[in-house]
Amino acid sequence: MLIQTERRIPSSEITPRETYMNRRAFMAGAAAAGIAAVAGDRMTRLAEPEGVEAAEKLTLVKSPLSLTGETPTSFQDITHYNNFYEFGVDKGDPARNAGTLKTRPWTVQVEGLVKQKKTFDIDALLKLKPMEERVYRFRCVEAWSMVIPWAGYSLSEFINACEPLPSAKFVQFLSLADGKQERLPFEAGISWPYSEGLRMDEAMHPLTLLTFGLYGETLPNQDGAPVRLIVPWKYGFKSAKSIVKVKFVKSQPSTTWNDMAPSEYGFYSNVNPNVDHPRWSQKTERRIGVPIFRQRQPTLMFNGYGDQVAKLYAGMDLKKNF
C-alpha cells in the first residue's frame, strides 16, 4: 500500500484554470482598452502575450516505462522553478519571461546524415505516434530533483521517421535562438543557439522521450514548448528545450555546457552519485516541493534507470566519461 505522507496543496488554494484564463482575458481586455498605452511595456507583458497558445489537453495512453509509487512534483513548481537560460538565468525568469515565445507556427528541421532533408510541422509531430504519459524522475546537475508526468513518445519513433543513414553515430539538437522572442542574456555566457547531443544508441533507447506535454497538457512555454527532449537518466541540461533543428552527424557534436566548462559538464552527463561536480557533491539531491527536513535524499545511479540503460555503457570508465 502506498502511504501518502506528503502534504499536498489544498484544492481550495488552486485557482481553477477557467478563472485563471478569465483573469488573463480580462487583463488582455484592459490592455486593449488603453491601459497598456499608459503603463507601457510592463502591462503588455502582464496581459496575454500575442502568439501564446493556451494549453491543450492531450489524449494519452499509459506506458509501462512510467514510474509508479513516487509523488509527482506540483504543476506550480514544475512551471515556476526552471533553468531555461534563453529567458534569464534565475529560476523564476522563464515563468516570468517565456510568454513572448511563439510556439505556432513551429517547425523542426532535420538535416545531416539522412536520406533526405525534412521539415516537420509541430502539428504533424503531435500526431506522428500515440502520445504516452511517462512519469520520470528529473535530476538537475545542480543537485535538485523532481518527479514529472511528461507526455510524448519515444524519440526512436521520430528518428525512424527521419531515416538517418548508417553512418550517423550521433544526433545533435538545437534550440530556438531568436532575440525577438527570447532575451538570450549576455551574462549567461552562452553562445546561442543552445546545443545538445546524444550517441545514436542513447537517442534510440525507448526511455528517451520526445516530449510535448506535462500533466496531460501541452508544454507551458517555460518548460521548453512546443517540443523538447527528456533523457531521464542524464542530468537535466542534456534534455534540450524548444527544439528547432535535429542534425545527424558522424562524430560527437559540440554541446553547450560541455563547451563552456568541460571539467564540470561531460558530454555523457549520466546521473552518477560517484562522480561529484567539482563544486558540489552529487551523492544526494534535494527534492523540490518537499518539506525542508525531508528534501535531502540519495541520488541513484543513472537516476534509478540503471536496469534499462547501464548496458549502453558497458566497459566504459564512467569516471573518465562523466
Binding site: V89, W144, G189, M260, R279, F293
Partner: protein, 214 residues
C-alpha cells in the same frame, strides 16, 4: 546623543537584525505545517541563501560604520552600534553554517571533510566563519581592556578578510551566469577603498590645518 535616543536606536537595530530571522522562522513553521510552498520550491536553498546573504549584508554594514562616522561627524554615535551589528553578522553566519551541517552534510563528518578538502567554495566559507569566531569571542569590553586597544584593533581588521572570503565564497557557490553577488562585491570594494582614502585625508588635514580652524 541623549541616552533615550541611544536606547530607542538600539531597539530599532535589534528589531532590524532579528526581523528577517523572525520572518524566516515563521515561513519555516508554515512550510512544515499548513503551507508547503511557504519557503518556495526549494526550501533548503531558500534558507541557505537567506542566512548567507544576511551575514554578508550585516558584515558590510558593520564595516561601513567607521567610514560613515569619519565622513559625517554628526553620526559618530553610530560607533556604539558596531559591536551589536558585528555580533549579528556572526549570528547569521552560525545559522548559515548550521544550515550546511544539518541540511547539506546531514551531520556527517565524512561528508564535511570531503566538502572542505575538495570544494573551494566551502573552504572559503569555512575560512570566513573561522575568522569571525575570534572576533565574536573578543567582542567583550573585558577583552578590549585585556588585549589593549591597539592589539584589539589590529585583530579586528580580520573583519575585512572575513568579508572578502565571504564574497569569494558567494561567487564560487553560484552557478556561472548568475551575477547576484555583484552588488555586495561593489559595496565591499567601496568600503575597502574608503579606509585608506579617509586615513590619507585625515593625515593631510592634520599636517595642514584648515584656515577656518587656524
Amino acid at each position: 546623543m541623549s541616552r533615550r535616543w541611544i536606547i530607542a536606536m538600539k531597539f530599532v537595530a535589534h528589531a532590524a537584525c532579528l526581523g528577517p530571522l523572525v520572518w524566516l522562522l515563521w515561513r519555516l513553521y508554515l512550510s512544515v505545517t499548513t503551507d508547503p510552498a511557504a519557503l518556495g520550491p526549494d526550501p533548503t536553498h531558500t534558507v541557505t541563501f537567506f542566512t548567507g546573504r544576511g551575514t554578508l549584508r550585516l558584515l558590510v554594514i558593520t564595516l561601513a560604520v567607521t567610514p560613515v562616522r569619519r565622513l559625517i561627524p554628526k553620526l559618530s554615535w553610530l560607533g556604539r552600534f558596531r559591536r551589536l551589528l558585528g555580533l549579528y553578522a556572526f549570528f547569521y553566519a552560525c545559522l548559515h553554517l548550521l544550515t550546511y551541517v544539518w541540511l547539506y552534510a546531514g551531520w556527517s563528518w565524512a561528508a564535511m571533510v570531503d566538502d572542505i578538502s575538495q570544494r573551494r567554495f566551502i573552504t572559503a566559507g569555512l575560512a570566513a566563519w573561522l575568522m569571525l569566531l575570534p572576533l565574536a569571542l573578543t567582542s567583550t569590553t573585558w577583552s578590549i581592556r585585556k588585549l589593549g586597544g591597539k592589539n584589539w584593533n589590529r585583530l579586528h581588521w580580520l573583519t575585512y578578510a572575513a568579508a572578502i572570503a565571504g564574497v569569494v565564497h558567494y561567487w564560487w557557490g553560484v552557478k556561472s551566469g548568475v551575477k547576484t553577488p555583484l552588488e555586495i562585491t561593489v559595496v565591499l570594494g567601496v568600503l575597502l577603498a574608503a579606509r585608506p582614502i579617509l586615513a590619507a585625508r585625515q593625515r593631510s588635514e592634520r599636517k595642514a590645518p584648515s584656515p577656518a580652524r587656524a
